[in-house]
Symmetry: C2
Subunit: 455 residues, 2 copies
């Protein structure tokens, strides 16, 4: 019986991993340059920490870890017969983390005394969800989050806008849109049309405008319980096209009586003004009044990054929240704003658009190939000196046929091979073969590092 992978999980072989590491390294370096500091939390959390934080569906999607040892030993027959739901808390106390936000909040609560605010952390770790696996949806995947908590300053929103541009530029994804919205505008519209608290349903319906058209959106709003007068009042919403500045003007003139909406508009304007001060060229910012990701959680800015011209699209999202730690019963209000990059989505986008740089999948740069025992006396010091120069190098460990050794170099996409036969040992002039062009030339061992580094 051949072994298999757990459904919804993946191995990442050398080529995929090298590309993934390019993404991780790029995001990490950018986070760091923006002053975010690294945090890692354990894969397992107490179920008491995780349960109730993601809604009923989320609770179901948590992977639970069976207690160690005789987990059922203390259970009475009637407890065993009470069904899975009743038995669960008695046999499983731990679960795998579902996202990075709840563990971050748990960390902040437990370490509050040692933290200086504002606290800027990034975290790049896998998360697990017991979802039904399907194309592009996995049970184990990485999130890369950066958050700053302990300040209301809109400068943090501006920083996130800048950072998104930096990450995309460093990854080589030039064609993207950073959609922004503000929860207060959505809340204000719901108030304004006399449907207070219904901004969630509103956003979901209007989000479909492009796909199903205005009439069907209005039908859906009716089904979702919006009154005719609310729907009539909402009609100006469908004229909110144009540049970000034009839309902001329209919103301002439309939602005159909603203080909440006007505050949301002002927040976006201040954020845009700050972004302008950085000197960011050609910002890819787009105001999208229907954007509502994770609405129940966000209280101010809402962000979504979409790669354009690809099937996948959304690769990052985030926003401003009012109280990171309230779910743990803390009295201190810790407002924050964060952004999360999905490595698996970014990988797929970059593959589809062929954006990985040439060297991203590359490992060994030089393979040293002695034809016989005596060649090792020359090859091993060469190996040491190449590595000393920072060049990834290896020596074919067996004395095999030359063809087999060159096939190995090709399979590993090693660009240079140093061939050492008896003539080379005698003359000290080694044969360096460029595996891409097929060219071969002789040089002394000392000259090889510089030759390879010159490309």
């Amino acid at each position: 019986m051949k072994p298999t992978l757990v459904k919804g999980t993946r191995d990442f072989g050398p080529e995929q991993m090298s590309k993934r590491l390019f993404i991780f390294d790029t995001i990490r370096a950018t986070f760091k340059r923006f002053g975010f500091l690294p945090l890692e939390t354990p894969s397992m959390e107490n179920l008491s920490t995780l349960m109730g934080k993601y809604g009923d569906e989320g609770d179901q999607l948590l992977f639970k870890i069976l207690n160690s040892g005789d987990f059922a030993g203390s259970l009475a027959p009637e407890q065993l017969a009470a069904g899975s739901k009743a038995m669960l808390p008695k046999i499983a106390e731990k679960g795998l983390r579902y996202d990075l936000t709840v563990p971050f909040a748990r960390y902040v609560v437990m370490s509050r005394h040692a933290l200086t605010l504002p606290f800027k952390r990034y975290q790049m770790q896998p998360v697990w969800r017991a979802d039904r696996p399907q194309k592009g949806r996995y049970r184990e995947f990485y999130q890369c989050d950066a958050d700053v908590v302990g300040t209301d300053s809109l400068l943090c929103e501006a920083e996130i806008v800048l950072m998104v541009h930096e990450v995309m530029r460093n990854l080589g994804i030039e064609n993207f849109a950073l959609k922004v919205n503000n929860r207060k505008i959505l809340t204000g519209i719901a108030e304004f049309i006399d449907a207070p608290g219904m901004e969630g349903a509103l956003a979901v319906a209007i989000d479909k405008l492009d796909k199903i058209g205005q009439d069907k959106v209005l039908d859906e709003l009716r089904e979702r319980g919006f009154s005719d007068s609310s729907i009539t009042a909402l009609l100006p919403m469908f004229t909110m096209q144009g540049s970000t500045n034009e839309v902001l003007e329209k919103l301002k003139n439309w939602l005159t009586t909603s203080e909440t909406a006007q505050r949301g508009i002002a927040e976006i304007e201040e954020m845009l003004a700050l972004v302008g001060q950085y000197g960011l060229e050609n910002p890819k910012l787009e105001l999208d009044v229907t954007l509502a990701r994770g609405l129940s959680y966000y209280t101010g800015a809402i962000f979504e990054v979409k790669a354009l011209g690809v099937s996948i699209g959304s690769i990052s999202g985030g926003g401003r929240y009012d109280n990171l730690t309230s779910a743990f019963g803390t009295s201190e209000r810790l407002s924050g704003v964060g952004i999360s990059f999905g490595v698996d989505r970014i990988y797929d986008v970059m593959e589809e658009l062929n954006l990985f740089p040439e060297g991203a999948g590359q490992g060994t740069q030089v393979l040293v190939v002695p034809f016989e025992e005596s060649g090792r006396h020359v090859g091993l010091p060469l190996l040491a000196s190449l590595r000393g120069a920072g060049i990834a190098a290896e020596l074919y460990p067996d004395l095999s046929k030359v063809k087999k050794m060159l096939d190995y170099a090709n399979a590993k996409r090693i660009p240079f091979v140093v061939l050492i036969g008896s003539e080379e040992v005698q003359t000290g002039q080694l044969a360096v073969k460029n595996m891409v062009t097929g060219e071969q030339q002789k040089m002394s061992a000392d000259a090889i590092a510089a030759f390879v580094q010159a490309g």
Copy 2:
């Protein structure tokens, strides 16, 4: 109720993480320079993949994941009443990986058609063990493994010796011993003293020589079932002190009739000869005939790295094995040799010896501090240009008291602060404060990047 961590797990805050990343980056760069390519496997494996690979105790120490949904729904009352052990396979099909070797073997079996041999991979991921937590023993910890499979060449052993030296040098751990042994010598000794197959017990007892002395070791051997004649024949073993070459000579002359032992001795000699050819200065190799880590698994070379002058000691180990994939019923024999570094142990050693380089824990290099709104017009472009120069920089997001902002810089150990008051805005000469020396000097925004990079 304040949240807690799962017992035996840890948060790694910014300072610890920065140091841990220094270790990860150093090991990864060294692995890469030696031609090892990255692999990552899922955290979860089928229990059918994991069970039976680590002995009965290992099976118990596996974290098992409860099946999703109504896990007990299909169980009959008598199945529920049959106890934990009988119930386990019906309610849990997955477990968390226990080490990186079994998932690597599983990967090789599943990907065999796509792999070119010899296959060199490294893997740096957490593993989980449901052990009783105690000082220095955790339930989640990282392993960093490098293995080459598909060749018997002793050059691979020599490469591992080189690589251990490189990793230690790059980490700054100068004071260490790389103990080596060969399983064949142990097997040969057991044969030679007429206690065939008892090399495990032999090694365990002799390993205590330093602690309990020769007489007590002999007592223990008697208790473990060694005959008086075996013990008499073993006595030369206690004279195996001296340099590696001296010990090799003594072994050769003692174990004359054991072909197995002579082969082990010859393998060590060939490995040492190859190591010599690299030009490695001052190798820290020590032959230790009692070294027997993971004996049941290793078939040739055995390695252990000990940091000297610290309480912890063992930070790495590995060896040659005969058949990576046989546990999965494969017929192809894949011999390999590998080394595993324990990041948590290395961290403790480096902390104890104060070996982390100055910059290893460092995050933000420059904090920009505007005293008022207008300072941001100068501060934000400065921030963008510092980051463009690769300098980690941030701007204090709120307009606070100067003391509070400087306290923030000190808490985050930010070495440079740029102060921007109204005078600075007018003159364009910004005040740059070195937070270590307390010195402060004025310069234009353009000059700051070079000033900071100069230290």
